[in-house]
């Protein structure tokens, strides 16, 4: 059984079913002309059908395979750090927040403190110069 395909199929089935149900709530068409709900329902039904096909095929497969996560903890932590950085977006002083995030990000990926801090400062300076001063984008 291919576990990753089974999980994907389950996700697509749920999303497809949601589209079919929610599409029913949109205005219906008239006189042979489809309404706002026609495409969501068609796409949803097609998605469910294909997902069931994938599920059937995944169960047929001999042996057990799944997601190949080699460095799962490090990847999750990197995504988590970015999540925190984004959650703090707009809370003030962009250069400091960004430099701090990048230093921790690089340190976590095995760089030495000095090189992590150096690269972070350069990247932050370039992005601030390009976007804030060059293109007048307010990053605060």
């Amino acid at each position: 059984m291919d576990r990753s395909s089974c999980i994907a199929a389950a996700g697509f089935t749920a999303l497809g079913a949601y589209l079919v149900v929610s599409g029913g709530g949109f205005p219906a068409g008239a006189g042979g002309l489809p309404g706002a709900g026609f495409f969501p329902q068609t796409i949803g039904a097609l998605m469910v059908l294909l997902a069931l096909g994938l599920l059937f095929k995944a169960r047929e497969r001999s042996g057990t395979t799944g997601f190949a996560f080699v460095n799962a903890a490090q990847t999750a932590a990197s995504a988590g750090m970015l999540l925190i950085y984004l959650a703090l977006w707009g809370t003030g002083f962009f250069p400091l927040r960004t430099a701090l995030f990048l230093t921790l990000f690089l340190k976590f990926l095995g760089q030495r403190w000095r090189s992590a801090a150096g690269v972070s400062l350069v990247l932050t300076a370039v992005v601030t110069a390009v976007f804030q001063y060059g293109l007048n984008v307010s990053l605060e």
Binding site: S4, S5, I7, A8, F12, L15, G16, L19, F26, P27, G31, G32, L33, P34, G35, A36, F39, P40, I43, G44, M47, L50, A51, G53, L54, K57, F67, A68, F69, V70, N71, A72, Q74, T75, S78, A79, L82, L83, Y85, L86, W89, G90, T98, L102, F105, L106, L109, G110, Q111, V119, S120, L123, T124, V127, V130, F131, L135, V137, S138, L139
Partner: protein, 494 residues
């Protein structure tokens, strides 16, 4: 047409446009030369910057990245046997073998020269055939456009090799994402969850940055690539001699031609084109046993083909509004930012702009030849940059770029969500191409079908039996189904 041609050339001969083109080609060369950074990623991450400059300048930069990254992808393929972009997979087969024989310089030189030959051949194809194709496409009505969009998505899923079902599912997910926003005919809000930011739909560029920038960085962190071992010693001579040119000529021509044709097929890019061209060159050339062991002919065919795909993909994108590959999908998004809709009407209403694109491609291909020949050594040197520095740069530029498009935090979250989804999809071996195509073609599909039904007063049979639409529908159904039937038949035989 003559005055339009002159206007197009004049627009390109502006020093600012040429400056952006040079910047783009140089940046593209760096992106291509670094394994893990692809042309798609470069174009996706840099697209937000084009918002502040003119369409010509923005396109000059993005086309420069595109034309620069594909040839430069051959540099790590030759030096360390790691293709810089997927298009240079076949380049590594003979290029790396040449480097191991002490001919790294010659392989890099052939890569630069053949890339330019491939690009110029495909640009000629674009210049000669784009206008007749666009002229034919002008006959299309809404029903035919619906069929074309459906065919494009189906084709992309169909060439997802053994992942046809997953490709189709990714395509339907793209179509589902395209539903977000106001209904194209009645302006009824769908899936906006009460957020006014979603009334215009999901922004295309943040999705692309997430799928091809953040997701790629996460994949590389998860797989912890650490390939930065450069071969010791000098590169040697770079230019091929006359005899070597003679040897390579047939493979070069067949490679450039095949690459262009394959590139013009929606969704089939340089990676497929170069493998097909390499195999074709092996079949027709004397000395088949040399292929894969440092054959000049094999290297010439693969380099010319992966670059020939650029002009082919641009022809499909400009004439039909259907992306030829992932980069041209993002280029459509970039053009839309400037209010330019690729498709046959572009050839009727803005011929000068089309000529500008042709000239930009010509200048970009000549520039990359110069960079490839003169800058082979420094470009080889940038392979020493540690991977985490690149990942940090991609994450930061991607995040700020997504935000800067509309000064909207919601776009940053869309980019993040697309990045996580893209990472999980890559791990589950779900192709991302059909998703992007679904997102781009979804609104075109829905609006055109419903428009056709309004024109035909709800007569479904009358619309679905129009010859061109019927052809597209049949092809759209058969393309993903045929490989499945074939694999079932083979399984039975075994």
């Amino acid at each position: 047409m003559g005055s339009e041609l002159l206007t197009g050339l004049t627009a390109v001969l502006d020093w600012e446009v040429l400056g952006f083109l040079t910047f783009g080609v140089t940046l593209g060369a760096i992106f291509g030369a670094l394994p893990g950074l692809t042309a798609t990623m470069g174009v996706a991450v840099l697209t937000p910057l084009t918002f502040w400059i003119s369409a010509e300048q923005g396109l000059a930069m993005l086309l420069g990245i595109y034309c620069g990254a594909i040839p430069a992808g051959g540099i790590p393929a030759i030096l360390i046997n790691v293709p810089g972009t997927p298009a240079s997979i076949a380049t590594s087969w003979d290029g790396y073998a040449m480097a191991r024989k002490g001919q790294a310089g010659l392989a890099l030189g052939i890569n630069a020269l053949m890339s330019t030959v491939g690009q110029l051949t495909s640009i000629l194809f674009l210049a000669l055939l784009a206008f007749p194709i666009a002229g034919f496409a002008l006959k299309f009505g809404p029903a035919e456009y619906f069929g074309l969009a459906l065919f494009g998505i189906s084709l992309m899923a169909g060439i997802s090799r053994d992942q046809v079902l997953k490709g189709l599912l990714a395509g339907t997910l793209g179509l589902a994402l395209a539903l977000v926003g106001l209904d194209p005919m009645t302006a009824y809000p769908r899936y906006t969850f009460g957020m006014s930011e979603f009334l215009d739909g999901i922004s295309f560029v943040p999705v692309m940055i997430g799928l091809f920038g953040l997701a790629e960085a996460l994949v590389q962190i998860s797989e912890r690539h650490s390939i930065r071992e450069l071969p010791a010693g000098v590169l040697g001579r770079i230019l091929p001699c006359l005899n070597e040119w003679k040897k390579m000529l047939p493979s070069m021509m067949s490679g450039a031609g095949l690459g262009t044709i394959v590139g013009a097929i929606p969704a089939a890019g340089g990676d497929i084109g170069s493998v097909i061209a390499w195999e074709q060159a092996r079949r027709i050339s004397p000395g088949k046993e040399e292929f894969g062991k440092g054959s000049l002919r094999g290297l010439a065919a693969s380099c010319a083909a992966c670059n020939g795909a650029i002009g082919g993909a641009m022809t499909t994108m400009l004439t039909l509004g259907i992306p030829g590959d992932a980069v041209s999908a993002i280029l459509i998004g970039a053009l839309l930012i400037h209010g330019i809709q690729p498709g046959p009407l572009l050839f009727q209403n803005n011929q000068a702009f089309v000529f500008s694109i042709v000239f930009l491609l010509v200048f970009a291909s000549l520039l990359i030849m110069l960079i490839g020949l003169l800058g082979a050594r420094p470009l080889a040197g940038i392979l020493r940059i540690p991977s985490p520095w690149l990942w940090a740069g991609i994450v930061l530029f991607g995040t700020v770029g997504a935000y800067a498009l509309n000064n909207a935090v919601v776009d940053v979250w869309v980019m993040f969500a697309a990045g996580i989804a893209g990472f999980l999809f890559r791990k589950a071996r779900i192709p991302l191409g059909p998703l992007v195509l679904g997102l781009i073609l979804g609104p075109m599909m829905e609006a055109n079908l419903r428009r056709a039904l309004i024109i035909g007063r709800g007569d479904w049979i009358g619309i679905l039996t129009r010859p061109i639409l019927l052809f597209f529908l049949t092809a759209a159904v058969l393309l993903p189904v045929l490989p499945l039937i074939r694999s079932k038949l083979f399984m039975r035989k075994e």
